[in-house]
Protein backbone atom coordinates (compact mmCIF):
# COMPACT_ATOMS: atom_id res chain seq x y z
CA UNK A 1 0.00 0.00 0.00
CA UNK A 2 2.59 2.51 1.13
CA UNK A 3 4.70 1.32 -1.67
CA UNK A 4 1.88 1.91 -4.06
CA UNK A 5 1.47 5.42 -2.75
CA UNK A 6 5.11 6.27 -2.80
CA UNK A 7 5.61 4.84 -6.26
CA UNK A 8 5.67 7.67 -8.67
CA UNK A 9 2.78 7.38 -11.07
CA UNK A 10 4.24 7.25 -14.56
CA UNK A 11 1.70 9.75 -15.76
CA UNK A 12 4.11 11.46 -18.10
CA UNK A 13 4.89 8.22 -19.88
CA UNK A 14 1.25 7.45 -20.35
CA UNK A 15 0.72 10.83 -21.88
CA UNK A 16 3.71 10.41 -24.19
CA UNK A 17 2.38 7.07 -25.32
CA UNK A 18 -1.06 8.43 -25.77
CA UNK A 19 0.26 11.23 -27.93
CA UNK A 20 2.18 8.77 -30.03
CA UNK A 21 -0.98 6.76 -30.42
CA UNK A 22 -2.92 9.80 -31.47
CA UNK A 23 -0.32 10.79 -33.99
CA UNK A 24 -0.28 7.32 -35.41
CA UNK A 25 -4.03 7.04 -35.79
CA UNK A 26 -5.69 10.39 -36.09
CA UNK A 27 -3.63 12.38 -38.49
CA UNK A 28 -6.33 12.23 -41.13
CA UNK A 29 -9.19 14.18 -39.58
CA UNK A 30 -6.74 16.50 -37.92
CA UNK A 31 -5.20 17.24 -41.24
CA UNK A 32 -8.58 18.26 -42.58
CA UNK A 33 -9.00 20.57 -39.63
CA UNK A 34 -5.54 21.91 -40.06
CA UNK A 35 -6.20 22.54 -43.74
CA UNK A 36 -9.36 24.40 -42.92
CA UNK A 37 -7.59 26.70 -40.48
CA UNK A 38 -4.77 27.23 -42.94
CA UNK A 39 -7.33 28.06 -45.57
CA UNK A 40 -8.89 30.72 -43.36
CA UNK A 41 -5.61 32.29 -42.44
CA UNK A 42 -4.37 32.35 -45.99
CA UNK A 43 -7.52 33.95 -47.24
CA UNK A 44 -7.45 36.60 -44.59
CA UNK A 45 -3.81 37.21 -45.25
CA UNK A 46 -4.35 37.30 -48.95
CA UNK A 47 -7.20 39.70 -48.69
CA UNK A 48 -5.37 41.95 -46.28
CA UNK A 49 -2.06 41.89 -48.05
CA UNK A 50 -3.21 42.82 -51.56
CA UNK A 51 -3.81 46.39 -50.54
CA UNK A 52 -0.97 48.83 -50.12
CA UNK A 53 -0.75 50.04 -46.54
CA UNK A 54 -2.07 53.50 -47.31
CA UNK A 55 -5.16 52.17 -49.06
CA UNK A 56 -5.73 49.60 -46.35
CA UNK A 57 -5.52 52.24 -43.66
CA UNK A 58 -7.91 54.54 -45.45
CA UNK A 59 -10.49 51.83 -46.03
CA UNK A 60 -10.31 50.67 -42.43
CA UNK A 61 -10.55 54.25 -41.23
CA UNK A 62 -13.69 54.75 -43.30
CA UNK A 63 -15.23 51.62 -41.88
CA UNK A 64 -14.33 52.80 -38.40
CA UNK A 65 -15.82 56.20 -39.15
CA UNK A 66 -19.03 54.65 -40.34
CA UNK A 67 -19.38 52.18 -37.49
CA UNK A 68 -17.94 53.98 -34.51
CA UNK A 69 -17.29 57.61 -35.27
CA UNK A 70 -14.32 59.81 -35.90
CA UNK A 71 -12.28 59.12 -32.79
CA UNK A 72 -11.71 55.55 -33.88
CA UNK A 73 -11.10 56.59 -37.49
CA UNK A 74 -8.41 58.97 -36.30
CA UNK A 75 -6.93 56.26 -34.14
CA UNK A 76 -6.84 53.86 -37.08
CA UNK A 77 -4.96 56.36 -39.19
CA UNK A 78 -2.47 57.30 -36.51
CA UNK A 79 -2.02 53.83 -35.06
CA UNK A 80 -1.63 51.88 -38.26
CA UNK A 81 0.31 54.74 -39.80
CA UNK A 82 2.77 54.45 -36.96
CA UNK A 83 3.10 50.70 -37.45
CA UNK A 84 3.74 51.22 -41.15
CA UNK A 85 6.25 53.91 -40.37
CA UNK A 86 8.07 51.60 -37.99
CA UNK A 87 8.44 49.10 -40.82
CA UNK A 88 6.29 46.46 -39.19
CA UNK A 89 3.54 46.43 -41.81
CA UNK A 90 3.99 42.92 -43.14
CA UNK A 91 4.25 41.55 -39.61
CA UNK A 92 1.07 43.40 -38.74
CA UNK A 93 -0.80 41.81 -41.63
CA UNK A 94 0.33 38.34 -40.65
CA UNK A 95 -0.70 38.86 -37.05
CA UNK A 96 -3.98 40.39 -38.07
CA UNK A 97 -4.81 37.46 -40.30
CA UNK A 98 -4.15 34.86 -37.66
CA UNK A 99 -5.85 36.84 -34.92
CA UNK A 100 -8.94 37.27 -37.06
CA UNK A 101 -8.93 33.55 -37.73
CA UNK A 102 -8.48 32.71 -34.07
CA UNK A 103 -11.16 35.09 -32.89
CA UNK A 104 -13.53 33.90 -35.56
CA UNK A 105 -13.01 30.27 -34.64
CA UNK A 106 -13.09 30.95 -30.90
CA UNK A 107 -16.30 32.94 -31.10
CA UNK A 108 -18.05 30.63 -33.47
CA UNK A 109 -17.33 27.72 -31.17
CA UNK A 110 -17.38 29.63 -27.90
CA UNK A 111 -20.66 31.45 -28.09
CA UNK A 112 -22.66 28.34 -29.03
CA UNK A 113 -20.95 26.34 -26.30
CA UNK A 114 -21.72 29.14 -23.84
CA UNK A 115 -25.34 28.96 -24.89
CA UNK A 116 -25.39 25.21 -24.40
CA UNK A 117 -23.72 25.58 -21.05
CA UNK A 118 -26.45 27.96 -19.92
CA UNK A 119 -29.17 25.54 -20.89
CA UNK A 120 -27.74 22.22 -19.93
CA UNK A 121 -26.46 21.40 -16.49
CA UNK A 122 -24.39 18.50 -17.72
CA UNK A 123 -22.60 20.66 -20.25
CA UNK A 124 -22.14 23.26 -17.56
CA UNK A 125 -20.49 20.91 -15.12
CA UNK A 126 -18.37 19.23 -17.72
CA UNK A 127 -17.11 22.38 -19.36
CA UNK A 128 -16.17 24.14 -16.17
CA UNK A 129 -12.99 22.16 -15.41
CA UNK A 130 -12.24 21.77 -19.10
CA UNK A 131 -12.21 25.51 -19.54
CA UNK A 132 -10.01 25.90 -16.49
CA UNK A 133 -7.74 23.32 -18.06
CA UNK A 134 -7.60 25.00 -21.42
CA UNK A 135 -6.85 28.38 -19.95
CA UNK A 136 -4.12 27.28 -17.59
CA UNK A 137 -2.34 24.38 -19.22
CA UNK A 138 0.82 25.96 -20.61
CA UNK A 139 0.58 25.92 -24.40
CA UNK A 140 4.10 24.49 -24.71
CA UNK A 141 2.90 21.36 -23.05
CA UNK A 142 0.57 20.41 -25.83
CA UNK A 143 2.05 22.43 -28.65
CA UNK A 144 5.14 20.38 -29.24
CA UNK A 145 3.14 17.18 -29.68
CA UNK A 146 0.50 19.11 -31.59
CA UNK A 147 3.12 20.11 -34.11
CA UNK A 148 3.02 16.50 -35.24
CA UNK A 149 -0.49 17.07 -36.45
CA UNK A 150 -0.35 20.60 -37.63
CA UNK A 151 3.19 21.14 -38.72
CA UNK A 152 4.95 24.37 -37.89
CA UNK A 153 3.63 27.78 -38.70
CA UNK A 154 0.48 29.65 -38.05
CA UNK A 155 -1.94 26.74 -37.84
CA UNK A 156 -0.70 25.47 -34.48
CA UNK A 157 -0.46 29.10 -33.45
CA UNK A 158 -4.13 29.54 -34.16
CA UNK A 159 -4.94 26.30 -32.38
CA UNK A 160 -3.08 27.34 -29.26
CA UNK A 161 -4.67 30.76 -29.42
CA UNK A 162 -8.14 29.33 -29.71
CA UNK A 163 -7.55 26.93 -26.84
CA UNK A 164 -6.48 29.79 -24.64
CA UNK A 165 -8.93 32.43 -25.76
CA UNK A 166 -12.11 30.40 -26.01
CA UNK A 167 -12.97 30.35 -22.33
CA UNK A 168 -14.10 33.97 -21.94
CA UNK A 169 -16.70 33.90 -24.72
CA UNK A 170 -18.05 30.63 -23.37
CA UNK A 171 -18.12 31.77 -19.78
CA UNK A 172 -19.46 35.23 -20.41
CA UNK A 173 -22.14 34.03 -22.78
CA UNK A 174 -23.17 31.63 -20.06
CA UNK A 175 -23.13 34.34 -17.43
CA UNK A 176 -25.08 36.76 -19.59
CA UNK A 177 -27.81 34.27 -20.36
CA UNK A 178 -28.04 33.22 -16.73
CA UNK A 179 -28.52 36.83 -15.72
CA UNK A 180 -31.46 37.46 -18.01
CA UNK A 181 -34.31 38.10 -15.57
CA UNK A 182 -36.73 35.21 -15.12
CA UNK A 183 -39.69 37.41 -15.86
CA UNK A 184 -38.41 38.04 -19.37
CA UNK A 185 -37.81 34.37 -19.99
CA UNK A 186 -41.29 33.74 -18.69
CA UNK A 187 -42.76 36.31 -21.05
CA UNK A 188 -40.90 34.65 -23.88
CA UNK A 189 -42.24 31.24 -22.96
CA UNK A 190 -45.78 32.48 -22.46
CA UNK A 191 -46.00 33.52 -26.07
CA UNK A 192 -44.81 30.13 -27.22
CA UNK A 193 -41.24 30.91 -28.21
CA UNK A 194 -39.33 27.98 -29.59
CA UNK A 195 -35.92 27.44 -27.97
CA UNK A 196 -34.32 29.19 -30.91
CA UNK A 197 -36.62 32.17 -30.74
CA UNK A 198 -36.14 32.29 -27.01
CA UNK A 199 -32.43 32.43 -27.59
CA UNK A 200 -32.44 34.99 -30.34
CA UNK A 201 -35.15 37.26 -29.10
CA UNK A 202 -34.88 37.08 -25.35
CA UNK A 203 -31.67 35.56 -24.09
CA UNK A 204 -29.02 36.86 -26.42
CA UNK A 205 -30.31 40.45 -26.45
CA UNK A 206 -30.38 40.38 -22.67
CA UNK A 207 -26.95 38.80 -22.47
CA UNK A 208 -25.41 41.19 -24.95
CA UNK A 209 -23.28 43.27 -22.58
CA UNK A 210 -21.74 40.13 -21.11
CA UNK A 211 -21.18 38.56 -24.52
CA UNK A 212 -19.52 41.74 -25.70
CA UNK A 213 -17.20 41.49 -22.74
CA UNK A 214 -16.52 37.90 -23.74
CA UNK A 215 -15.61 39.07 -27.21
CA UNK A 216 -13.32 41.71 -25.80
CA UNK A 217 -11.53 39.18 -23.65
CA UNK A 218 -11.34 36.75 -26.54
CA UNK A 219 -9.60 39.38 -28.64
CA UNK A 220 -7.30 40.36 -25.81
CA UNK A 221 -6.28 36.83 -24.95
CA UNK A 222 -5.78 36.01 -28.62
CA UNK A 223 -3.43 38.92 -28.98
CA UNK A 224 -1.61 37.97 -25.82
CA UNK A 225 -0.66 34.73 -27.58
CA UNK A 226 1.12 36.48 -30.41
CA UNK A 227 4.57 35.85 -28.98
CA UNK A 228 3.95 32.22 -28.18
CA UNK A 229 2.59 31.76 -31.68
CA UNK A 230 5.79 33.29 -33.03
CA UNK A 231 7.81 30.74 -31.07
CA UNK A 232 6.33 28.03 -33.20
CA UNK A 233 6.91 29.92 -36.38
CA UNK A 234 3.67 31.81 -36.85
CA UNK A 235 5.63 34.95 -37.64
CA UNK A 236 3.91 38.29 -37.33
CA UNK A 237 4.52 40.88 -34.69
CA UNK A 238 5.59 38.25 -32.20
CA UNK A 239 8.77 37.70 -34.17
CA UNK A 240 10.31 41.13 -33.61
CA UNK A 241 9.36 40.76 -29.97
CA UNK A 242 11.27 37.51 -29.77
CA UNK A 243 14.18 39.04 -31.59
CA UNK A 244 14.18 41.95 -29.20
CA UNK A 245 14.37 39.45 -26.41
CA UNK A 246 17.52 37.80 -27.53
CA UNK A 247 19.18 41.08 -28.23
CA UNK A 248 17.71 42.71 -25.14
CA UNK A 249 16.52 45.46 -27.44
CA UNK A 250 13.85 47.17 -25.37
CA UNK A 251 12.99 49.61 -28.14
CA UNK A 252 12.30 47.05 -30.84
CA UNK A 253 10.24 44.92 -28.51
CA UNK A 254 8.24 47.89 -27.50
CA UNK A 255 7.55 48.89 -31.07
CA UNK A 256 6.29 45.47 -32.01
CA UNK A 257 4.37 45.19 -28.78
CA UNK A 258 2.77 48.49 -29.53
CA UNK A 259 1.71 47.14 -32.89
CA UNK A 260 -0.09 44.34 -31.08
CA UNK A 261 -1.76 46.82 -28.77
CA UNK A 262 -2.88 48.95 -31.68
CA UNK A 263 -4.51 45.95 -33.30
CA UNK A 264 -6.11 45.11 -29.98
CA UNK A 265 -7.64 48.52 -29.57
CA UNK A 266 -8.87 48.75 -33.14
CA UNK A 267 -10.41 45.28 -33.15
CA UNK A 268 -11.95 45.79 -29.76
CA UNK A 269 -13.56 49.07 -30.77
CA UNK A 270 -14.75 47.72 -34.09
CA UNK A 271 -16.35 44.67 -32.50
CA UNK A 272 -17.97 46.48 -29.63
CA UNK A 273 -19.97 49.64 -29.39
CA UNK A 274 -19.02 52.81 -27.51
CA UNK A 275 -20.22 51.75 -24.13
CA UNK A 276 -18.55 48.57 -23.05
Amino acid sequence: MTELLSTRIPLGDWVSNFVDYLVANFSGPLNAFSDFIAFLIENFEGALAVLPPAVFIIILALIALKLRGKELAAFVVLGLGLVANLGLWSELIITLASILTSVLVALSIGIPVGILKAHNKVVHFITRPILDFMQTIPPFVYLIPALMFFGLGNVPGVVATVVFAIAPPIRLTYLGIKQVPDELKEAGRAFGSSPLQMLLKVELPGALPSIMMGINQCIMLSLSMVVIAAMIGAGGLGEPVLRSLTTVDVGLGFEAGLGVVIIAIILDRLFRSEEE
Binding site: S27, L147, L152, I232, E239, T247, V248
Partner: protein
Amino acid sequence: FTPVEASADDTVNFGYVEWPGVTVKTAVASQILEDIGYETESSSYMQQVLFQGMRTGDVDAFLGTWLPTMEVNYREYYEDGVVEEVVTNLEQVLYATAVPEYVYEAGVTSMADLNEHADKFDHTIYGLEPGNDGNIIIQDAIDDGIYDLDDWTMMESSTAGMLAEVERATSQEEWIAFNGWEPHWMNLAYDIKYLDDPENIWGEDDKVLTVVRSGYGDEQPEVYRFLEQFVIDQDIQNEWIYEYGHEDRDPEDVAQEWIGNNMDLVLEFLDGVESADGQPATEVIQEVYN
Protein backbone atom coordinates in the same frame (compact mmCIF):
# COMPACT_ATOMS: atom_id res chain seq x y z
CA PHE B 1 5.25 8.36 -37.56
CA THR B 2 3.49 9.86 -40.51
CA PRO B 3 5.21 13.18 -40.84
CA VAL B 4 3.40 16.06 -42.34
CA GLU B 5 4.49 16.18 -45.93
CA ALA B 6 7.37 18.43 -46.85
CA SER B 7 6.42 21.40 -48.93
CA ALA B 8 6.27 20.23 -52.47
CA ASP B 9 8.19 23.10 -53.99
CA ASP B 10 11.93 23.60 -53.96
CA THR B 11 11.99 26.43 -51.50
CA VAL B 12 14.80 26.06 -49.02
CA ASN B 13 13.24 26.36 -45.58
CA PHE B 14 15.73 27.60 -43.03
CA GLY B 15 14.84 27.48 -39.43
CA TYR B 16 16.72 29.60 -36.99
CA VAL B 17 16.68 30.47 -33.37
CA GLU B 18 16.70 34.10 -32.43
CA TRP B 19 20.34 34.17 -31.47
CA PRO B 20 22.11 37.02 -33.20
CA GLY B 21 24.86 34.87 -34.67
CA VAL B 22 22.47 32.32 -36.04
CA THR B 23 20.10 34.97 -37.32
CA VAL B 24 22.75 36.66 -39.41
CA LYS B 25 24.37 33.42 -40.43
CA THR B 26 21.03 32.23 -41.73
CA ALA B 27 20.48 35.55 -43.44
CA VAL B 28 23.84 35.28 -45.21
CA ALA B 29 23.19 31.72 -46.34
CA SER B 30 19.73 32.54 -47.66
CA GLN B 31 20.99 35.64 -49.37
CA ILE B 32 23.64 33.68 -51.17
CA LEU B 33 21.16 31.02 -52.20
CA GLU B 34 18.70 33.63 -53.39
CA ASP B 35 21.41 35.30 -55.39
CA ILE B 36 22.01 32.10 -57.23
CA GLY B 37 18.36 31.59 -57.95
CA TYR B 38 16.97 29.50 -55.11
CA GLU B 39 13.85 30.37 -53.26
CA THR B 40 14.43 30.53 -49.56
CA GLU B 41 12.34 31.08 -46.55
CA SER B 42 13.57 31.61 -43.00
CA SER B 43 11.48 31.33 -39.90
CA SER B 44 12.50 31.66 -36.34
CA TYR B 45 11.48 29.05 -33.81
CA MET B 46 12.22 27.91 -30.36
CA GLN B 47 14.94 25.33 -30.70
CA GLN B 48 12.62 22.57 -29.49
CA VAL B 49 10.08 23.50 -32.06
CA LEU B 50 12.71 23.73 -34.74
CA PHE B 51 13.81 20.14 -34.50
CA GLN B 52 10.20 19.09 -34.35
CA GLY B 53 9.83 21.08 -37.56
CA MET B 54 12.46 18.90 -39.21
CA ARG B 55 10.44 15.92 -38.23
CA THR B 56 7.30 17.41 -39.74
CA GLY B 57 9.22 18.54 -42.80
CA ASP B 58 8.62 22.22 -42.27
CA VAL B 59 12.28 22.95 -41.72
CA ASP B 60 15.03 21.86 -44.09
CA ALA B 61 18.14 23.28 -42.55
CA PHE B 62 19.41 24.81 -39.37
CA LEU B 63 22.77 26.49 -39.02
CA GLY B 64 22.95 26.83 -35.28
CA THR B 65 23.09 23.44 -33.60
CA TRP B 66 25.33 24.33 -30.73
CA LEU B 67 26.87 21.31 -29.13
CA PRO B 68 26.91 20.20 -26.47
CA THR B 69 24.61 22.97 -25.31
CA MET B 70 21.75 21.62 -27.33
CA GLU B 71 22.76 18.06 -26.76
CA VAL B 72 19.78 16.95 -24.68
CA ASN B 73 17.33 18.48 -27.03
CA TYR B 74 19.07 17.42 -30.18
CA ARG B 75 19.99 13.91 -29.30
CA GLU B 76 16.53 12.46 -29.56
CA TYR B 77 15.99 13.73 -33.07
CA TYR B 78 19.45 12.67 -34.09
CA GLU B 79 18.95 9.19 -32.75
CA ASP B 80 15.54 8.99 -34.39
CA GLY B 81 17.26 9.76 -37.67
CA VAL B 82 15.23 12.88 -38.21
CA VAL B 83 18.28 15.07 -38.37
CA GLU B 84 21.50 14.70 -40.29
CA GLU B 85 24.71 16.57 -39.51
CA VAL B 86 26.24 18.40 -42.44
CA VAL B 87 29.28 20.17 -41.20
CA THR B 88 30.69 22.07 -38.28
CA ASN B 89 30.25 25.60 -39.46
CA LEU B 90 31.96 27.24 -36.52
CA GLU B 91 34.68 25.88 -34.25
CA GLN B 92 36.27 27.12 -31.10
CA VAL B 93 33.13 28.36 -29.58
CA LEU B 94 33.14 28.87 -25.90
CA TYR B 95 30.55 28.19 -23.26
CA ALA B 96 31.67 28.81 -19.69
CA THR B 97 31.10 30.67 -16.51
CA ALA B 98 31.73 34.37 -16.98
CA VAL B 99 32.04 37.41 -14.78
CA PRO B 100 32.26 41.13 -15.50
CA GLU B 101 35.75 42.47 -16.00
CA TYR B 102 35.75 44.41 -12.73
CA VAL B 103 35.10 41.18 -10.89
CA TYR B 104 37.84 39.45 -12.81
CA GLU B 105 40.21 42.22 -11.94
CA ALA B 106 39.21 42.01 -8.31
CA GLY B 107 40.74 38.58 -8.32
CA VAL B 108 38.10 36.18 -9.45
CA THR B 109 39.81 34.57 -12.41
CA SER B 110 38.98 30.96 -11.88
CA MET B 111 35.91 29.05 -10.84
CA ALA B 112 37.91 28.02 -7.83
CA ASP B 113 37.90 31.64 -6.68
CA LEU B 114 34.15 31.92 -6.66
CA ASN B 115 33.42 30.51 -3.25
CA GLU B 116 35.85 32.90 -1.59
CA HIS B 117 33.56 35.76 -2.53
CA ALA B 118 30.37 33.82 -2.20
CA ASP B 119 28.60 36.57 -0.34
CA LYS B 120 29.37 39.11 -3.01
CA PHE B 121 27.86 36.77 -5.57
CA ASP B 122 24.96 36.10 -3.30
CA HIS B 123 25.86 32.40 -3.70
CA THR B 124 24.26 32.47 -7.10
CA ILE B 125 25.27 31.58 -10.61
CA TYR B 126 22.85 32.68 -13.29
CA GLY B 127 22.01 30.25 -16.03
CA LEU B 128 19.68 29.94 -18.98
CA GLU B 129 16.37 28.23 -19.24
CA PRO B 130 15.78 25.15 -17.13
CA GLY B 131 17.23 22.04 -18.71
CA ASN B 132 19.98 23.86 -20.56
CA ASP B 133 23.18 21.83 -20.51
CA GLY B 134 25.21 24.69 -19.04
CA ASN B 135 22.78 24.85 -16.20
CA ILE B 136 23.07 21.14 -15.72
CA ILE B 137 26.86 21.34 -15.65
CA ILE B 138 26.79 23.96 -12.94
CA GLN B 139 24.07 22.18 -11.03
CA ASP B 140 26.13 18.99 -11.09
CA ALA B 141 29.10 20.92 -9.84
CA ILE B 142 27.01 22.31 -7.02
CA ASP B 143 25.64 18.92 -6.18
CA ASP B 144 29.06 17.35 -6.21
CA GLY B 145 30.65 20.21 -4.28
CA ILE B 146 33.17 20.91 -6.97
CA TYR B 147 34.91 24.25 -6.42
CA ASP B 148 33.20 24.25 -3.01
CA LEU B 149 30.01 25.40 -4.59
CA ASP B 150 27.84 23.22 -2.34
CA ASP B 151 25.77 26.06 -0.88
CA TRP B 152 25.39 27.91 -4.14
CA THR B 153 22.30 28.01 -6.29
CA MET B 154 21.81 27.84 -9.98
CA MET B 155 19.36 30.58 -10.90
CA GLU B 156 17.49 29.40 -13.94
CA SER B 157 15.35 31.65 -16.08
CA SER B 158 15.91 32.22 -19.78
CA THR B 159 18.52 33.74 -22.05
CA ALA B 160 16.85 37.10 -22.01
CA GLY B 161 16.31 36.94 -18.30
CA MET B 162 19.92 36.12 -17.61
CA LEU B 163 21.22 38.82 -19.91
CA ALA B 164 18.96 41.39 -18.36
CA GLU B 165 20.38 40.41 -15.01
CA VAL B 166 23.89 40.82 -16.36
CA GLU B 167 23.01 44.23 -17.68
CA ARG B 168 21.53 45.25 -14.38
CA ALA B 169 24.50 44.00 -12.42
CA THR B 170 27.13 45.56 -14.66
CA SER B 171 25.38 48.91 -14.75
CA GLN B 172 25.60 49.00 -10.99
CA GLU B 173 28.97 47.30 -10.76
CA GLU B 174 27.49 44.48 -8.76
CA TRP B 175 29.17 41.12 -8.73
CA ILE B 176 27.65 38.42 -10.82
CA ALA B 177 28.64 35.05 -12.25
CA PHE B 178 26.74 33.60 -15.18
CA ASN B 179 26.84 31.20 -18.06
CA GLY B 180 28.36 33.14 -20.93
CA TRP B 181 29.30 32.05 -24.40
CA GLU B 182 31.08 33.21 -27.42
CA PRO B 183 30.30 34.19 -30.09
CA HIS B 184 27.53 36.34 -28.77
CA TRP B 185 26.97 40.08 -28.62
CA MET B 186 27.27 39.99 -24.87
CA ASN B 187 30.97 39.82 -25.39
CA LEU B 188 30.79 43.15 -27.18
CA ALA B 189 28.15 44.79 -25.08
CA TYR B 190 29.65 44.08 -21.71
CA ASP B 191 33.20 43.79 -20.56
CA ILE B 192 33.23 40.19 -19.46
CA LYS B 193 35.82 37.55 -18.79
CA TYR B 194 35.51 33.77 -18.79
CA LEU B 195 36.73 31.99 -15.72
CA ASP B 196 39.34 29.29 -15.77
CA ASP B 197 37.97 25.86 -15.29
CA PRO B 198 40.72 23.77 -13.73
CA GLU B 199 38.42 20.84 -13.05
CA ASN B 200 37.25 20.97 -16.65
CA ILE B 201 33.60 20.68 -15.83
CA TRP B 202 32.60 22.56 -18.94
CA GLY B 203 34.44 20.24 -21.34
CA GLU B 204 36.23 21.58 -24.38
CA ASP B 205 34.83 20.71 -27.72
CA ASP B 206 32.07 23.21 -28.21
CA LYS B 207 31.09 23.69 -31.80
CA VAL B 208 28.26 24.81 -34.00
CA LEU B 209 26.85 22.39 -36.53
CA THR B 210 24.87 22.79 -39.67
CA VAL B 211 22.14 20.18 -39.74
CA VAL B 212 19.46 19.28 -42.24
CA ARG B 213 16.56 16.94 -42.08
CA SER B 214 17.48 13.45 -43.15
CA GLY B 215 17.52 12.89 -46.83
CA TYR B 216 17.68 16.51 -47.72
CA GLY B 217 20.97 15.97 -49.47
CA ASP B 218 19.24 13.79 -52.02
CA GLU B 219 16.48 16.24 -52.61
CA GLN B 220 18.65 19.32 -52.99
CA PRO B 221 22.24 18.18 -53.65
CA GLU B 222 23.36 21.64 -54.74
CA VAL B 223 22.08 23.35 -51.66
CA TYR B 224 23.53 20.58 -49.57
CA ARG B 225 26.87 21.07 -51.19
CA PHE B 226 26.77 24.78 -50.47
CA LEU B 227 25.91 24.10 -46.85
CA GLU B 228 28.84 21.68 -46.57
CA GLN B 229 31.17 24.44 -47.65
CA PHE B 230 29.57 27.19 -45.60
CA VAL B 231 32.03 27.38 -42.71
CA ILE B 232 33.08 30.58 -40.96
CA ASP B 233 35.26 31.66 -38.09
CA GLN B 234 34.93 33.58 -34.85
CA ASP B 235 35.89 36.96 -36.30
CA ILE B 236 33.26 36.87 -38.99
CA GLN B 237 30.69 35.73 -36.53
CA ASN B 238 31.60 38.53 -34.12
CA GLU B 239 31.37 41.09 -36.86
CA TRP B 240 27.90 39.93 -37.77
CA ILE B 241 26.75 39.91 -34.21
CA TYR B 242 28.11 43.36 -33.65
CA GLU B 243 26.44 44.83 -36.69
CA TYR B 244 23.14 43.21 -35.97
CA GLY B 245 22.96 42.82 -32.24
CA HIS B 246 24.66 46.00 -31.25
CA GLU B 247 24.13 48.37 -34.12
CA ASP B 248 20.54 47.24 -34.56
CA ARG B 249 20.82 46.73 -38.29
CA ASP B 250 18.60 44.48 -40.32
CA PRO B 251 20.14 41.03 -40.73
CA GLU B 252 19.39 41.21 -44.46
CA ASP B 253 21.37 44.42 -44.80
CA VAL B 254 24.22 43.02 -42.81
CA ALA B 255 24.23 39.91 -44.96
CA GLN B 256 24.15 41.73 -48.25
CA GLU B 257 26.91 44.10 -47.27
CA TRP B 258 29.08 41.32 -45.98
CA ILE B 259 28.67 39.24 -49.14
CA GLY B 260 29.60 42.22 -51.27
CA ASN B 261 32.70 42.83 -49.20
CA ASN B 262 33.83 39.23 -48.93
CA MET B 263 33.27 37.83 -52.38
CA ASP B 264 36.36 35.64 -52.29
CA LEU B 265 35.07 33.78 -49.28
CA VAL B 266 31.64 33.48 -50.83
CA LEU B 267 33.17 32.00 -53.93
CA GLU B 268 34.76 29.34 -51.76
CA PHE B 269 31.38 28.52 -50.27
CA LEU B 270 29.96 28.14 -53.76
CA ASP B 271 32.76 26.21 -55.25
CA GLY B 272 31.28 23.56 -57.51
CA VAL B 273 27.72 24.49 -56.71
CA GLU B 274 25.24 24.93 -59.48
CA SER B 275 22.70 27.71 -59.50
CA ALA B 276 19.01 26.95 -59.69
CA ASP B 277 19.04 26.95 -63.45
CA GLY B 278 22.17 24.86 -63.72
CA GLN B 279 24.82 27.57 -64.14
CA PRO B 280 28.00 27.61 -62.07
CA ALA B 281 26.97 29.51 -58.98
CA THR B 282 30.28 31.33 -58.69
CA GLU B 283 29.68 33.07 -61.95
CA VAL B 284 26.10 33.88 -61.22
CA ILE B 285 26.83 35.51 -57.93
CA GLN B 286 29.66 37.58 -59.26
CA GLU B 287 27.35 38.99 -61.80
CA VAL B 288 24.88 39.95 -59.14
CA TYR B 289 27.48 41.88 -57.16
CA ASN B 290 29.01 43.78 -60.01
